[in-house]
């Protein structure tokens, strides 16, 4: 048998490769360069006009007080690109742009926002963003932590728009195996050498769900905020029953009379027991259930405004490239009163809570708000006057460095005319997955600190300019966008137009046309392909491609 196999293998392999190539070439050749889908996004049914008006009024007041004129509304194509980068982590495909441009119905931005949120790409991309603050960016212990399973689970929750408070309760309190109950990876992520890091879990709970950095209180009372070391210890003790075993995450409740959490005192070096406790409003904590379940109920309690404010600030940060309050997880004490909400986080937080902790609604509201729809251009940025003030009052859409995932996502999408989504061939999806990992590694992973403002680096510039990534995705082949545009665009104008749309989601300016069209004129074959490749390269390396705007 062995001999037969070894004889057939070499004979068949080349034939199969050739046959595969023929199939691919034929299918590529049969598909038109710019396929169209007939349907347009349906009308939006949910009513968000009241909350959007409330948010807009907040900003109108703010701009009036600051005596500034906000930027003009962004061009709708620019808005379309902004939404795609924010919600899908990639620029829109030429296929999508063509659909968008031929959508003449009213409220098209609102309808396209809804369609993007319903697309699986939203759930997948936001899962990656959420997992940064939920399970960290570090690799963790592979035997007790399965990031892939966590990603798949979180994506399902976001896609189904499960109420966010339910998602959080599941992560904090669920029991079981990290593969079977992927939500337990939230706690499994902090296991180090088989030992649960209670402090890390307490710190992460406070930062991720309450927008409070109380980690400093691990060793001493917080120097700025009103956090005591005892409060941190009490929170850590809420995870004291947690046990990691071969059957997964469990809660030990054998002897209720013994405090489940014991630590070494940093001063006396003696062991002492710590009783599970929450740092404020203990009456929100139910008396029944495992300590983790009680903690979960307290964290997500309807009166716990910190919970709502934290996720609003986080989502705002993901959509604008910078959070409303920086750092994203260190919000000022909101106080205990329930005033008529006047602060943005409270306004949006109250709406979020009233509507069942609906993440997609929160995103929809932000996407419909006036600040999100402003242009990133402003006359003050030209004159250099009041630049900081404009920024402070969100008088123009902020310019922020795109995440590496967004850069490679946009490059990959630009390599294809068709939309790369869950309908794409599995090989394409696999390529995207692995290329993204490689690119992020080389571009410099921002870890948990992804919402801090940063400038670009020289290695990143080199990576965009000279790496295989840039070369591969701008290369002109019979399958690539560059190749198909070079070979099939009816004229130079159309060729240039398609290059700009696919890379920058805009049409070239008159000045750009005047300079670039002559480069295409009279070219054919390889020469034309090179001009288009060079254009793709240029557009990939432009600040417009690399920065959110």
């Amino acid at each position: 048998m062995t001999n037969v196999r070894s004889n057939w293998g070499p004979t068949l392999a080349p034939l199969m490769v050739v046959a595969g190539l023929v199939v691919l070439v034929v299918s590529a050749a049969r598909s038109s360069s710019i396929p169209a889908r007939p349907t347009m996004p349906a009308a939006v049914t949910s009513d968000i006009s009241s909350i959007v008006a409330q948010v807009d009024q907040l900003f109108a007041d703010q701009w009036r007080e600051a005596k500034i004129e906000p930027a003009l509304p962004a061009d709708e194509l620019a808005l379309f690109r902004r939404l795609s980068l924010v919600l899908h982590g990639t620029a829109p495909s030429l296929e999508e742009i063509r659909r968008f441009e031929t959508d003449y119905g009213s409220d098209r931005i609102a309808r396209w926002t809804a369609e993007m949120l319903a697309d699986r790409r939203f759930a997948n991309y936001f899962t990656r963003r959420f997992s940064r603050f939920l399970v960290g960016a570090e690799e963790g212990q592979v035997l007790v932590f399965r990031r892939d399973r966590f990603w798949a689970w979180m994506s399902d929750q976001l896609h189904a728009n499960r109420p966010y408070d339910e998602i959080v309760r599941a992560m904090i309190s669920e029991r079981g195996l990290w593969t079977d109950k992927p939500e337990v990876n939230f706690v499994a992520a902090v296991v180090n050498e088989g030992v649960v890091d209670h402090n890390k879990l307490a710190g992460r709970t406070a930062r991720a769900f309450l927008g409070q950095r109380i980690d400093c209180a691990e060793c001493h009372n917080h120097p700025f905020a009103n956090w005591k070391q005892s409060q941190f210890e009490g929170l850590a003790a809420c995870y004291g029953e947690l046990n990691i075993s071969p059957v997964g995450v469990e809660d030990n409740q054998v002897d209720k009379t013994v405090a489940p959490y014991r630590l070494q005192d940093r001063v006396t070096l003696n062991d002492r027991d710590v009783v599970p406790a929450v740092p404020y409003h203990e009456e929100w904590m139910p008396s029944e259930g495992t300590t983790r379940a009680r903690l979960a109920a307290w964290v997500t309690h309807p009166a716990n405004r910190r919970f709502d404010r934290a996720i609003v600030n986080r989502v705002w940060g993901l959509m604008f490239g910078k959070p409303w309050i920086q750092p994203v997880d260190d919000l000022p004490d909101p106080g205990d009163e329930h005033p008529v909400p006047t602060d943005l986080l409270d306004v949006l937080g109250a709406d979020f809570r009233v509507h069942g902790c609906d993440l997609k609604r929160l995103i929809t509201v932000i996407a419909a708000s006036r600040p999100f729809r402003l242009s990133s251009q402003h006359p003050s940025f030209e004159t250099g006057e009041n630049v900081e003030l404009i920024e402070q009052v969100w008088g123009a859409f902020p310019i922020s460095r795109l995440r590496p995932e967004q850069v490679i996502g946009a490059m990959l999408q630009a390599s294809s005319i068709k939309t790369l989504d869950h309908n794409s061939h599995w090989t394409m999806r696999a390529i995207r997955f692995f290329k993204e990992l490689d690119f992020v590694k080389e571009y410099g992973d921002l870890g948990d600190e992804e919402l801090t403002e940063r400038a670009g680096t020289i290695p990143q510039a080199l990576l965009r300019m000279n790496s295989e990534f840039a070369a591969e995705w701008s290369k002109s082949t019979i399958f690539s966008a560059a190749g198909r545009i070079a070979g099939m665009a009816p004229n130079d104008e159309s060729c240039l137009d398609n290059c700009f749309l696919i890379c920058l989601t805009r049409h070239p300016t008159a000045e750009e046309r005047a300079t670039l069209i002559p480069q295409l004129e009279g070219t054919k074959g390889d020469d034309r392909a090179y001009v288009v490749e060079d254009l793709f390269w240029t557009l990939f390396n432009s600040p417009e491609f690399c920065w959110g705007h």
Binding site: E138, I399, M465, N466
Partner: protein, 420 residues
């Protein structure tokens, strides 16, 4: 100091006679020519990834229950023996000091790598900068057009700039000996020219209405700096073709050996921080074979590097640290392996005016005591190194979250400083 000019002159003469060049052409030839103590100090880490066994490297206990299969050989430090797997290093050991009692509390690869790169334990609220990043942040090199912090080799956990910013991350060269990756334009000069001209045009469009904000992105600045680097003569430091075949052979024909040779060339240009990594020390099974295999790469490269630096009078201006993230357990497990051991592991450190030939600490030859004699905290080691680099290690910087943080929390180890 009085002998410096004549020694430098002699070394240059010798170099030209041998067809060598001390200074890879660069902007600041004068600085590149400086030798000895007058030259600004650099920091070179030889990173042994995975956790090298102290028992099979610098702290053998042959003939004991924990000793494994190595024997001990004498070194050029009187009375100090190391594992027989390192005969070449044994000949050069007097140039550095040996610490056998490093301690940390991190036994996980990622966390311990963080600890040994930064001097701090990982914590969720901020990322500390690596020592190499602090060095270039506090003591930037003049006239260096190539990155001032270079990591050679495919380390799993490379050093990062942390809260100082990713501009201070190490520039990574995955395949040392070849010019750093992504350095060469992928197209002809003519096409590259067209690309750059078009880029200027498209960038101008973006700046319209965004002037001040576009400027703040530093996009153009990084592109310009990248272009300067792409055409810099100093890039030759990444290539080793011009080095004599015998020298290349002495370093060893391996990515790590080439990395060490490139490191020396980068030091000559004035690169401030360098890490050369050799991974594969994680010997949970078949410890002896794994460690012995690594030694065949490490021994010639490290010994040649030390010798080369001394011969070129560069060791006086280069702090060399040889370490991994932790050591390995004294006990040998049923698979013949050793597991992670952060309590009493070894490192070599020297150069840059640090004491030569010193020995600090000792571990229990029977493996009963988990705490070594004279334990040395990682932070103290780094306070010593930063001090020698001319960095005010106690300086407090305000992190992006507004929290003041000392560059290093340790205190210098006086015994490691020459003349003390």
């Amino acid at each position: 100091m009085s002998d410096q000019p004549s020694r430098r002159h002699f070394l240059r003469l010798m170099a030209s006679a041998c067809g060598l060049s001390f200074a890879v052409p660069g902007l600041d030839l004068r600085a590149a020519d400086q030798r000895g103590d007058e030259r600004a100090k650099s920091f070179l880490t030889i990173w042994l990834g995975g956790g090298p066994s102290q028992l099979e490297t610098w702290d053998p206990h042959p003939g004991t229950r924990i000793g494994g299969d190595v024997t001990a050989i004498p070194t050029t430090i009187p009375g100090v023996e190391i594992a027989n797997l390192y005969p070449q290093v044994a000949e050069q050991l007097h140039h550095v000091s040996l610490i056998r009692s490093l301690v940390s509390k991190e036994g996980d690869h990622e966390r311990a790598s963080y600890m040994l790169h930064t001097g701090y334990r990982p914590e969720p609220t901020l990322v500390h900068p690596s020592i190499g990043s602090i060095a270039i942040h506090e003591r930037p090199s003049d006239g260096v057009e190539i990155p001032q912090f270079v990591a050679l080799g495919a380390a799993e956990f490379p050093p990062r700039g942390g809260f100082l910013g990713d501009r201070f991350d190490a520039y990574r060269v995955f395949n040392p000996g070849e010019t750093g990756q992504n350095i060469k334009p992928l197209v002809s000069q003519e096409r590259q020219g067209r690309r750059m001209a078009n880029l200027e045009l498209i960038s101008k469009s973006f700046e319209r209405g965004r002037g001040a904000k576009a400027e703040q992105t530093l996009h153009q600045h990084t592109v310009d700096a990248a272009l300067r680097m792409m055409t810099s003569e100093q890039l030759k430091a990444f290539s080793i073709e011009s080095e004599p075949a015998e020298l290349r052979a002495a370093y060893g024909d391996s990515p790590f050996g080439r990395g060490c040779l490139v490191a020396r060339r980068l030091l000559e240009v004035g690169v401030r921080s360098i890490e050369v990594s050799l991974s594969g020390f994680d010997s949970h099974a078949n410890n002896h074979e794994v460690q012995a295999a690594r030694s065949r790469t490490l021994d010639p490269a490290l010994a040649t590097l030390l010798k080369d630096l001394v011969e070129r009078d560069l060791l006086q201006s280069t702090i060399v640290l040889v370490t991994g993230e932790f050591g390995r357990t004294p006990t040998i497990n049923p698979l013949g392996g050793r597991d992670h051991w952060p309590s009493g592991f070894s490192c070599l450190v020297g150069g840059g005016g640090l004491r030569k030939g010193g020995l600090i600490g000792a571990t229990d030859p029977h493996g009963d005591e988990t705490r070594p004699v004279d334990p040395i905290e990682v932070a103290d080691l780094y306070a010593t190194i930063l001090g020698r680099l001319g960095v005010d290690y106690e300086k407090e910087v305000i992190t992006p979250i507004g929290r003041p943080m000392k560059l290093c929390s340790g205190r210098p180890i006086e015994r490691l400083i020459a003349g003390t």
